[in-house]
């Protein structure tokens, strides 16, 4: 029996896959490096347009169980392009375009193989796009691996750098272990319910015999552990700082935004669609993970002296805030998922912006910029300096960075609404910790410069990236309801 495939629904990942092959082939035929970036951007833009067209149309689903085999169960589909999926696909693609823009100069300066770089990046993006659309456990795992595998290579792409190799190995080992743990969890869930599709899994978990309940609970927690690695939640976080430091900066940006967004999407999908009835099990687990993640991330970020490590630890801490709404368990789950999604979307804009400025300031071949290297940036390069300060204040969540404030408000609200007020109090304390280092950094930007050494001017592509994220941050600070409404409609 041959299954029909709805090619329109899978257009975004398909376009990226085609682009990946094209780029690899083009590189083999010695096409100039600049063109590769342009082709990549073009296809990502095309995929973004496809997402927009799909969003205007109806909900599409493909790879469904044929009606003859359904046996009275729900219409289980493995790939669903609903509003939630499209929102995340749009987010991933937009962020990916920014990452490609940031990469152009890094590729030249670090002498990275351009063809492979773009190929790997596109492959990882295909994985992310498929992950957010996946609605069965196998597709989820395959997509997750498609997202992870190219990233190992990307991290290690700076071949003459020992730190990069170490980072890649570390990422690889932690990733493999967490995948194994997750697969074990999936096998337990499958054993208990006999279902792989999330809608069937959800129905099956509601009618689990009581002696199998502990097994299902263990399975659920193990599956979550796999995603906890992806989003760098404590205790699966310790790859993050070293990998961010060892990897090329745009790859670090990719990890902290695209990869993380996909990880949260997967988490929301599996928790919200697959096992809502086990909310009393995974809710408290996530609550503890969130509290530990934000506290440890913030405490470690306080001690960092280089920009990239600070961003690494702060992005661990931000993962904690994003996890927090999911701690509510089954109660008010749609609201909680909306809060997480809103935070992820707003965070993507501000964090990419901060990365863009750091990429612009970083000199080729020199060690990572210490925080003191940002002294006087506002005088040397007013646009980047002001933009960086604005992004940091957004991340800290203070006006005029209203978007960050609203991100925090929705997260607080979801946590309080789900009766985990203690987590809200932990978040309140953490906000203060976070403010301290963000503000200290932002203050350095405006401080008098210690030395008059000229900084490297960020190139055109990086400037475009800064401008795009800066404009996004400004618009969302004036009208945060754009994201909030879209998210509320999609979940």
């Amino acid at each position: 029996m041959i299954q029909g495939i709805d090619y329109a629904a899978i257009a975004p990942p398909l376009l990226c896959a085609v682009a990946a092959v094209l780029v690899l082939l083009a590189d083999a035929f010695d096409v100039p490096r600049r063109w590769l970036g342009a082709v990549t951007c073009l296809f990502l833009g095309g995929a973004l347009v496809a997402v927009g067209v799909l969003a205007a149309g109806d909900r599409r689903a493909t790879f469904c169980v044929p009606s003859g085999l359904r046996g009275g169960g729900p219409r289980s589909c493995s790939y669903v392009a609903d509003d939630f999926t499209l929102l995340f696909q749009g987010l991933v693609l937009a962020a990916a375009i920014i990452v490609v823009l940031l990469s152009l100069r890094t590729i030249v300066e670090d002498d990275l193989p351009a063809g492979e770089y773009h190929f790997l990046l596109l492959s990882a993006i295909v994985g992310a796009l498929a992950l957010v659309a996946a609605r069965d456990l196998v597709t989820l795992v395959v997509a997750l691996e498609t997202l992870s595998l190219p990233v190992f290579a990307l991290v290690g792409l700076r071949r003459r750098d020992g730190a990069a190799a170490e980072a890649a190995l570390k990422l690889f080992l932690v990733s493999v272990v967490s995948t194994a743990v997750m697969l074990f969890g999936i096998s337990l869930l499958y054993g208990v319910t006999g279902a792989m599709h999330l809608d069937r899994l959800s129905a099956g978990l509601r009618s689990v015999p009581s002696d199998l309940k502990p097994v299902a609970a263990v399975g659920a927690v193990l599956v979550l552990a796999g995603f906890a690695f992806k989003v760098a939640a404590v205790p699966f976080h310790f790859w993050a700082p070293d990998v961010y430091q060892g990897a090329p900066l745009p790859v670090a940006a990719f990890l902290s935004v695209v990869s993380k967004a996909a990880g949260f999407a997967g988490l929301a999908i599996i928790a919200g669609l697959g096992m809502p009835s086990l909310g009393h099990v995974w809710g408290p687990v996530i609550a503890v993970l969130a509290a530990a993640t934000m506290t440890l991330g913030n405490l470690m970020a306080l001690r960092q002296r280089t920009a990239i490590r600070l961003l690494a630890w702060s992005s661990v801490a931000q993962s904690g805030y994003m996890l927090a709404p999911l701690a509510v368990g089954e109660r008010r789950l749609p609201e909680a998922v909306a809060a997480t999604v809103a935070y992820v979307a707003l965070y993507a804009v501000m964090n990419l912006g901060a990365f863009a400025v750091v990429v612009g300031v970083q000199k080729a071949g020199s060690p990572h910029v210490p925080l003191d290297g940002f002294r006087g940036l506002a005088r040397r390069d007013p646009v980047s300096g002001t933009a960086l300060a604005f992004f940091l204040i957004c991340l800290a969540g203070l006006p005029p960075g209203v978007m960050g404030l609203f991100a925090k408000v929705v997260v607080f609200r979801a946590a309080v609404a789900g009766n985990v007020t203690w987590l809200a109090v932990v978040m309140a304390v953490n906000t203060v910790l976070g403010l301290y280092y963000y503000l200290a950094w932002a203050a350095r930007v405006f401080a008098a410069s210690a030395s008059d050494e000229g900084t490297t001017r960020p190139g055109l592509a990086v400037r475009a990236a800064i401008a795009a994220t800066g404009a996004g941050a400004l618009v969302l600070s004036v009208a945060p309801q754009l994201v909030l409404s879209a998210v509320a409609a999609a979940t």
Binding site: P399, R413, V416, M427, T431, V432, A488
Partner: protein, 498 residues
Amino acid sequence: MMAIPACAALALLVPRARFLPDDASLGRFGILVSGATLLVGLSAVTAFDFSDASRAQLSVNRTWESSIGLRFHLGVDGISLPLVVLTALLTFLCFVYTYRHPPAGGRLRLLTALLLVLEIGMLGTFVALDLILFFVFFEVVLLPMFAVILIWGGADRRAAATKFILYTLLGSGLLLAGMLLIAVNAGTLDMTELARRHGAGVSHGVQIAGFLLMMLGFGVKAPMWPLHTWLPDAHTEAPTVGSVLLAGVLLKMGTYGLVRIAVPSAPDGARSCATALGLLAVIGIVYGALACLAQTDLKRMIAYSSVGHMGFVLLGIATLTPVGLNAALFGNIAHGLITGLLFFLAGSIKDRYGTGDLARIGGGMLGTAPRLASFLTFASVASLGLPGLAGFWGEMLALLGAYKPDAGLSRPAFVTFMAFGGIGAVLTAAYFLRLLSKITHGRPRADAAEAAAVAAPTVYEYAAWVPLVALTLLVGLWPKTLLAVTSEPVRALFGGLG
């Protein structure tokens, strides 16, 4: 109907455009804009229907974000109106003062912009009728004030500014959790709606938790002992205009929030926590007074006196009676006027003598700088609560309220609080008299040549001081002007408690 203060706030966004070439025109521009805001505020007073002061008037109410029930809801009633006018007035006076006495550190354009943003935040806080909107405005003031302290402050400004922002942000976080806890359980974010329901439908435990979180959150801002430690540093290091706005308006945001949000939306929680709040308030009063006696720096002393005065305000709130809340609102305004004046004077003294140290200023100011000294005497006497001046009524009514607290509260405890509050008032008198005896009276310092060079106040200083003196007299001699406006909405707040 559009809210007039909202228009003013929007108008204030304009000056960021870089079109003013030099400092003088910049200063004039600041005066002009803040003066216009003041006029708008005053016209709001004339447009305000005083016979119906408990209703939110001049309001604008639009849907902002429907998915979380957020509304853009602004308006003024009898509780917020005086504070709105006070804010507009103090900001205006700050600009007048800055015009001739810019703080050391230059960058006047930035200062003007920051002060205007600060004003937007302060006005917004007082007119917001939606919890989230209130919170946004509440946060808007943080960064400008941080920058004002950091850039134009004294020697230890960095530490002071950091301490200020970290403390207040911690308060904000707790406040947000508390507000959302109540709002989510009550199912609305609208402050008028919350106040109308008097906590109906919110369980007792949730009310206690919510009130406690809000009490801590507002308590940092107010400041409530033992969360006050950011205040002396921030006040001492901030430039004159910073101190004036900090003491005159920012502290009020804490107590205003308690009256406006915490007490009406969680009355049960308020009743359970009131004794604790009263205790902390009284400790604040006595502690502030004792700390003042030990200070050698003028600004630091005034800062600690704020802790004591705000203690009276908090005590008034803790009684949960109409008398007490009226006292709190009255005390807010009085403290804003008097302490604003005191900080202006302290700034002028510091400019002239180059130091705020009481010993180095020496005595005999009435001889060397008679006008300055007279103003200082007036402000000190007003601050220590001389009958007939503004400071008296707030303290007296607060103590009166404590004598007869809400029926649900322990009367012996509050009578004890009252007694200690009275002792605090006496101590307040003691330290202000000590201040006066040290610098206005007595012998000038030996190097009289230098002392003789003390300049007389300038026109701009007079312009900043005289309105405050006049209002202190007006409100003190005729307290009904203020009480008439506040008492009706306060009674409305107590629909559920009385």
